[in-house]
């Protein structure tokens, strides 16, 4: 998925010199190709994320299309107010890429883990939030983001889990992507890294499975249809259960199509231990065995 990100970025930047990449001194190896092919469009803004977002806003006001790259703990969290005032308020075409979202940096501890980025950005007007699940969704997300002409936050989580789609996907604003049609009146909606688990688990329960590459906006009509076609809806995300995809689905359901919804995500707590990515998922009850067990109890 990171290769797809890099390919899409390099390809777009070669065709459009207005695309400039700003990084807060992050992206080791990720931008080698970019720096080799379009060095003049690469700006290392140093370990100074607030200024980086303000500079990006200035560049965008003057006609550039900045891509701001950082770790999601810092961009957008540390710079949230800069994103709000400098970028979103003026609807500037700035693509914010938050890498390493969720528990990717499991061994580095809480400073580098982020389960609050979507909740924080969702409350800002004028911004679209993307959360690609695999290389195919990344390719489509980048195509969407670099032509949207408005603020985008793209959340990039665990990126080496392999594909969930078989080929090219087309994004329609706010639409969820159907991955599996099940016979049970159970729908599982995942986003980003958790779509893989959604697919695996969907098989066991013969559930309908969806990926949500858009976290904002979300197609209200589509969510209503899913809720009406289901007795139970499960939402999986490597993010807090407050303010993320689960909340967004529940908000729509509660308003227009009440159904039972299980939000599986980070339960209002920080990580307590260090370890591998899989260890952190287990600590937070986001490993497949824990999720399966919760779903069994949920649908009983």
């Amino acid at each position: 998925m990171r290769d797809a990100f890099s390919r899409a970025l390099v390809s777009a930047a070669e065709k459009d010199e207005r695309i400039v990449l700003l990084t807060g001194d992050h992206g080791y190896a990720l931008f080698d190709e970019f720096r080799a092919r379009v060095p003049a469009q690469y700006i290392n803004a140093g370990v100074a994320e607030q200024n980086m977002v303000g500079v990006a806003a200035g560049l965008a006001k003057a006609g550039y299309k900045p891509v701001v790259y950082g770790l999601s703990s810092f961009v957008p969290i540390r710079v949230l107010e800069y994103l709000k005032l400098d970028v979103c308020y003026e609807k500037l075409p700035v693509l914010i890429v938050g890498d390493g979202a969720g528990f990717v940096y499991s061994i580095l501890g809480v400073s580098h883990q982020s389960a609050e980025d979507v909740a924080s950005v969702r409350a800002l007007p004028n911004v679209t939030i993307l959360s690609p699940a695999d290389a195919w969704e990344m390719q489509a997300s980048m195509a969407y983001a670099l032509t949207s002409g408005s603020p985008i936050y793209m959340r990039m989580g665990k990126a080496d889990l392999g594909p969930v789609h078989r080929g090219i996907v087309t994004l329609r604003e706010g639409a969820l992507l159907g991955l599996r049609a099940g016979a049970a009146r159970l729908a599982i909606i995942g986003t980003g890294s958790m779509v893989h688990a959604a697919l695996d688990i969907g098989e066991e329960f013969d559930a309908s499975v969806f990926s949500a590459p858009f976290l904002k906006p979300l197609s209200t009509d589509q969510v209503v249809r899913i809720c009406e076609d289901s007795d139970h809806v499960v939402v999986l995300e490597e993010h807090s259960i407050y303010g993320g995809l689960g909340s967004a689905i529940a908000e729509i359901a509660g308003w227009l199509a009440p159904t039972r919804i299980l939000r599986v995500g980070v339960e209002d707590r920080f990580s307590a231990t260090c370890g591998s990515y899989r260890h952190l998922l287990s600590e937070h009850g986001l490993d497949e065995a824990s999720i399966r067990s919760r779903i069994r109890r949920f649908i009983q």
Binding site: N51, G54, V55, A57, A62, L85
Partner: protein, 269 residues
């Protein structure tokens, strides 16, 4: 356009009285800086505030915005009616700088934002070789913000010599003297140390400001510029000068009349 500083202060006073707002002294300290910029240094099209070839002026110290509104009204980008309805229900001129007002480049009520935006604008002009300049007016209290120092490092590193930072050094911030709240030290020396071409001047001496800015424009030396302007908070009205209450205080009708009488006539230049 004359940008007569006494007339500009009268406009600010009238706005503050009509809008029942504070921040009068914060606007008064930067009147001369803005007057000189709009009169002699900024390139802009009076008919089109969004002209793509314009020089940029970012008022990073957004709480001084009444001073900028007064200048924008003189250019004609804000109507006298807008000024008279300042801060009243349903109007567009807010009490802090807002980029939806023609001629205002950034949302800077929250401090530490405008300089970075100006740096981005300067960088864009530099990359394109357009010759446009970006001016950023920042407050001395605003120098408490870490992002300011991030922006200064960035501007010097990328050799943005088309960036001109003007510091309204009035010696006060919201809760007291900068010396008491957060000591700033020798600002020209600090800017020099950060890689800027730095100078200082009496921020109420229009000729001195003008000279300093002209000298900057004759030095495309790869260094961004900084003019530390020594100013007086509340300048122009005797009972407001160096009295920090006028950061907040609203005008009574009596204070309004007293100030108005002090600001009558044209400033003898």
């Amino acid at each position: 356009m004359r940008f007569d500083v006494r007339a500009l202060r009268r406009t600010v006073l009238d706005m503050a009285y009509a809008g029942k707002t504070g921040h009068i002294a914060c606007a008064f300290s930067l009147i001369e800086l803005l007057a000189v910029l709009y009169r002699s240094h900024l390139s802009y099209d009076p008919k089109d505030p969004m002209n793509a070839d314009r020089d940029y002026l970012v008022l990073s110290k957004g709480h001084g915005v009444m001073a900028q509104y007064a200048c924008l009204a003189e250019i004609g980008w804000i109507s006298p009616g807008d000024l008279g309805r300042y801060c009243s229900d349903g109007t567009r001129l807010t009490g802090l700088a807002d980029p939806h007002v023609p001629g205002v480049e950034a949302s800077t009520g929250s401090l530490g934002h405008g300089l970075s935006v100006a740096v981005g604008l300067a960088m864009a002009a530099k990359r394109r070789g357009t010759g446009q300049r970006a001016f950023a007016v920042i407050g001395d209290g605003e120098l408490n913000e870490g992002a300011i120092w991030e922006a200064l490092l960035f501007a010097a590193h990328f050799r943005l010599d088309n960036l001109i930072v003007l510091v309204d050094e009035n010696g006060f911030q919201a809760m007291g003297r900068t010396e008491e709240v957060m000591r700033l030290g020798d600002l020209p020396a600090k800017f020099s140390e950060f890689g800027f071409d730095a100078a200082d001047a009496d921020g109420h001496d229009e000729d001195a400001i003008d000279d300093a800015l002209h000298r900057f424009s004759q030095r495309p030396n790869g260094k961004p510029k900084a003019l530390v302007a020594h100013t007086v908070k509340g300048k122009g009205v005797s009972f407001m000068e160096n009295d920090n209450r006028w950061h907040y205080t609203r005008l009574t009708s009596e204070a309004y009349e007293r100030a108005k009488s002090e600001l009558a006539g044209v400033y003898p230049r």
